[in-house]
């Protein structure tokens, strides 16, 4: 009898102590996440120059990782918690819901943008914040909301407050006008940094996002310049005989990898900006150009035709012998490291069309990311989730963005003239 009681007790205890049933979920859908961005309530008492909800919607959509709900499908337009019927949004298949409003304080002329992000399924508030600024900051505030929402939903820092640099070519009669411009990441609010009648090429952002290195032919032959994007002051950093091209910054911002032909043939050099010392990296009869630093600064990827046609090679940033990276196709050029350093993006030619491709350094697996015909100059967003590139649309150079995870594409609003050579800025601390 005693034994029996003991046995029962053991059973009971083990039953109580026994762990829950465990189910491990190792797979899921990688589709864009549905987020309802409800139009922001205008509580300012006056018409607003910017539609914050629209800015957020467009930013999120452009990423390809988030699928904002079409406004026309919304059953209600809540702007605060007590107005939300979560069940409705759940039935619309939404995972998140962004609501907010814009207020205005007339004496100080300051706008207040209030926003709240909810997990529709759990009805939990994930974000809640108020931003403030004057009217010219409304777009910035919109981008900041998009950044916060993107990060909350994807776990990845948003890049909607970053900027892009690019070159435009305007042909007026026989004259060409080249402009180096900087704009918001959505292509809006562009400002002109430089205007020349001779080509400007290869703009590259410094890691602190304050300076641009580029090549200008204004003195009849190519020279590399570094220009401060805020003050506008610029310095010529190389002007050797022959080629001076393809500058890219080392991750610490102290050096530039450049292509020079001063010793007879296009070779890679590293220019130390602190003391203007020059170090030669490659030494080959073939052309070596278009260097890109790995995020850790240890490796340099570049284009060389030493194998007979242009291919991507990797080498130590301190020198040494290069090793060939690409073998698919007869034309691979213009490498750029991914933000995590695990991939290299480049231009790949296949069936007569040029496309942006990626190559996984560990597995060696390559993937074509774009499908138009003349895609070139890929530049990676600082969060690694998007790539901006130049392409042709109706015979005109335009800029497009491809979502790295989703593969979704988006063409930036048309600019005046031909647009080319985009460069995505790093995060800019303001």
């Amino acid at each position: 009898m005693k034994k029996h009681i003991f046995f029962t007790l053991v059973l009971l205890i083990s039953g109580l102590a026994r762990a829950d049933l465990v189910i491990e979920i190792d797979k899921g859908s990688r589709a864009a996440i549905p987020v309802a961005v409800v139009p922001f309530a205008n509580e300012s008492g006056q018409p607003l120059a910017e539609d914050i909800g629209q800015i957020v919607t467009e930013d999120l959509k452009r990423s390809g990782d988030i699928e904002p709900l079409d406004r026309t499908k919304m059953l209600s337009i809540p702007s605060k918690a007590e107005e939300i019927y979560f069940r409705d949004w759940g039935l619309l298949g939404q995972r998140y819901l962004l609501v907010g409003g814009v207020q205005y304080d007339a004496p100080s002329q300051v706008y207040k943008v209030r926003y709240e992000l909810y997990n529709v399924q759990s009805q939990q508030r994930v974000l809640g914040k108020v931003l403030s600024g004057k009217s010219e900051k409304l777009r910035d505030m919109g981008h900041a909301v998009a950044d916060a929402v993107y990060e909350a939903v994807t776990g990845i820092r948003g890049v909607f407050s970053t900027r892009i640099a690019y070159v435009t070519l305007e042909k007026s009669g026989t004259k060409n006008i080249y402009r180096l411009e900087v704009a918001d990441a959505d292509g809006r609010r562009s400002t002109e940094l430089l205007k020349r009648s001779m080509p400007i090429i290869s703009p590259a952002w410094s890691p602190d996002g304050k300076k641009l290195a580029y090549v200008s032919f204004e003195s009849q032959r190519p020279a590399i310049y570094v220009q401060d994007t805020i003050t506008g002051t610029r310095t010529q950093v190389t002007s050797f005989k022959g080629l001076n091209s393809a500058p890219t910054w080392s991750p610490d911002g102290t050096k530039l990898a450049v292509t020079l032909s001063k010793d007879g043939n296009a070779e890679l050099y590293v220019l130390d900006l602190r003391n203007n010392s020059l170090k030669r990296l490659t030494n080959h009869w073939a052309i070596d150009t278009e260097a890109s630093w790995s995020p850790d600064g240890r490796t340099i990827a570049f284009t060389s035709d030493r194998g007979g046609g242009p291919q991507i090679y990797l080498m130590d940033a301190s020198g040494g012998s290069p090793r060939r990276l690409t073998f698919e196709g007869r034309y691979n050029s213009r490498p750029r490291f991914s933000v995590d350093g695990k991939k290299v993006y480049y231009v790949h030619q296949r069936d007569g069309s040029f496309n942006v491709a990626s190559l996984d350094l560990e597995s060696g697996q390559d993937q074509i990311l774009t499908q138009t015909e003349m895609d070139e100059s890929p530049s990676v967003a600082p969060n690694g989730s998007m790539i901006i590139y130049a392409t042709q649309k109706n015979g005109k150079g335009v800029l497009a963005v491809v979502g790295v995870n989703s593969g979704s594409k988006y063409t930036l609003p048309a600019q005046f003239g031909d647009v080319r050579e985009p460069a995505w800025s790093p995060y800019i601390s303001r």
Partner: protein, 331 residues
């Protein structure tokens, strides 16, 4: 139907007729005037002639017997006399003629003057009539204009009145609309409150039901335990558990929208409380992945499953599926 050409023709008839009558009138007057004066005209020379004739007659009567006495003398005298008489007669006739001519001229002048006066009077009368007519027309015009103005004024006033009424009506409608809106809003809020209350009650009822069900399951479990051998039961339950585990796995894989980017190596552990109906009672993160978006995606997935597949066997449900741990860990 009159042709347009008739219009002026008939318009002339009046004046023409008038003109003819007027001329006839003037002629008539002239004639009457002349014939009225005719009888006295010859009277004057006749009277004079009578006077002259009487003297002549005396003279004639006196010497008349004389010529018979004196042959030469009286004859000369008679001739002289006759000559004198003839001259006198001639002079008288001349005078008479002159007088007649003068009278005729005077008459003509008087007639002419009269005619002129009449014409002037007529003209004046016509002028007066015209002026009168004009005056009448002007007055009429003025009257008409005044009436028109009055009418316009009345119309304007009516329009103003209408507008005013319109505005008032609109204002009233707007007020009514606002009031209705407010009322609707109030009703909506009340409805919401009612709905919330209803939901809460439903939830309470559900919980109560669950508790009752749990008791019932417990009782049946006890019965089963008594009826079934332990080995048999374990075997049966193992297969059942695996079956429902697989069903829950597949619904969560479908419901999980993974965040983009690199998520390999992330791991979030969630505890789910289920109801015997398969509904989710609660979910909580027991071990975070360290990535809030990843945790949220897991919470979203757990909540997105409308109905979990759970065994209908109450004992098995209570032991294995009332609390379930889900580990989200992408490979």
């Amino acid at each position: 139907m009159d042709s347009p050409g008739n219009q002026p023709k008939s318009g002339y008839i009046g004046p023409a007729l008038f003109s003819v009558i007027l001329h006839l009138g003037i002629a008539g007057l002239a004639f009457l005037g002349w014939s009225a004066h005719t009888p006295p005209t010859p009277v004057v020379p006749h009277m004079q002639a009578m006077v002259i004739d009487a003297e002549t007659l005396k003279q004639m009567t006196k010497p008349q017997p004389k010529p018979a006495v004196k042959k030469e003398e009286p004859k000369r005298e008679e001739e002289q006399q006759k000559k004198q008489q003839d001259q006198e007669k001639q002079r008288q006739e001349e005078l008479k003629r002159q007088e007649q001519a003068k009278q005729e001229a005077e008459r003509k002048a008087a007639a002419e003057k009269k005619r002129e006066q009449e014409a002037i009077a007529l003209k004046k009368k016509q002028e007066e009539e015209r002026k009168k007519k004009e005056e009448e027309k002007r007055q009429e015009d003025e009257k008409r204009k005044a009436e028109e103005k009055k009418k316009a004024e009345e119309k304007r006033k009516a329009e103003e009145e209408r507008k005013k009424k319109d505005a008032e009506r609109k204002k009233k409608e707007e007020e009514k609309r606002l009031a209705e809106q407010k009322q609707k809003e109030l009703e909506r809020q009340m409805k919401e409150a009612r709905e919330k209350k209803r939901q809460e009650e439903l939830k309470k009822a559900e919980e109560l039901k669950m508790a009752q069900e749990a008791a019932e399951y417990e009782r049946r479990l006890q019965e089963q335990l008594e009826a079934e051998s332990s080995a048999q039961r374990q075997q049966r339950e193992l297969t059942e558990v695996e079956k429902y585990k697989a069903l829950i796995y597949s619904s969560l894989v479908q419901a999980w929208l993974q965040p983009p980017g690199e998520i390999k190596g992330l791991k979030a552990e969630l505890q789910l409380q289920l109801l015997p109906t398969g509904e989710l009672l609660s979910v909580k993160v027991v071990k975070s992945s360290g990535n809030s978006a990843f945790d949220q995606s897991a919470i979203g997935a757990a909540n997105a499953v409308r109905k979990y597949s759970v065994p209908s066997d109450p004992g098995l449900f209570n032991r294995e599926f009332r609390n379930v741990t889900i580990i989200f860990s992408p490979k």
